[in-house]
Symmetry: C2
Subunit: 147 residues, 2 copies
């Protein structure tokens, strides 16, 4: 299996949006997706977020979407907002390749740490993160206001 | 009481770092603060984060520290990483002025939502956020790797 991990280009963004929607369906939250491929393209061009895609036989089969954030305790921190491998391509190590590329890129950009979130019932993802020596914190709640 | 809310300048950053430390002590996590005022100054100049300060009689008495982040579900999202009012200036409405300035700035920059986190035992903060019509989510866990 010849998987290539590479930075996304603007031509990949339609597919990136489709994968976000696929993950939201898995997370039982499809109606929460209010963005469109057009919004992604503008924000991607503006440098608001970055993406790496996994490519197999010219097909995009997975992606990581991340941006530089800040930890007042640690400094520059890369935040992983979305991490998807298409359902039919799971359990082949593609997620690990994408995750490794995300870690490598974060270090290259001078991040002191990486952070993301997982749903408390997503056991498969939690096992993957534990295998990768990530630390899980259960004592912080998210707070948000939607405009 | 004549409180002024204004964007921080590089000269304010020593005081901003001191307030981050004060909040970390309250959160029982002082040893977690690995940053220095010098790191803050570099990252502030690089535009990694933004700050607004509350000033009373030429003294900085509080601040909000935030940066533009991204929600794959909603688009541009302002993330509030730190929100401090110095202990002896609490309960005078300064936090509300800072919070309102943060919301206003987030809207001005085109954010579709704002997000932050609160410790599950911090009842005073939770009441403040509920009063401000924020939505609290308890089903996401933080995951991180520190380099």
């Amino acid at each position: 299996m010849n998987i290539q991990i590479r930075p996304a280009t603007i031509e990949d963004i339609d597919e990136v949006h489709a994968m976000v929607r696929e993950l939201a369906i898995f997370e039982k939250a499809e109606s929460s997706v209010k963005t469109s491929p057009e919004i992604y393209k503008k924000d991607f061009k503006d440098g608001i977020f970055e993406v790496k895609v996994a490519v197999l036989n010219q097909e995009i089969v997975g992606m990581v979407l991340y941006f530089m954030a800040y930890s007042t305790w640690r400094g520059k921190m890369m935040y992983l907002d979305d991490f998807v491998v298409k359902n039919k391509y799971r359990n082949r190590g593609i997620g690990q390749l994408l995750f490794d590329a995300f870690i490598q890129e974060s270090k290259a950009q001078g991040a002191t740490m990486v952070k993301w979130q997982v749903l408390d019932w997503n056991e498969h993802a939690i096992r993957f993160y534990e295998k990768n020596k990530a630390e899980i914190e259960k004592n912080w709640w998210n707070v948000k206001i939607i405009f």
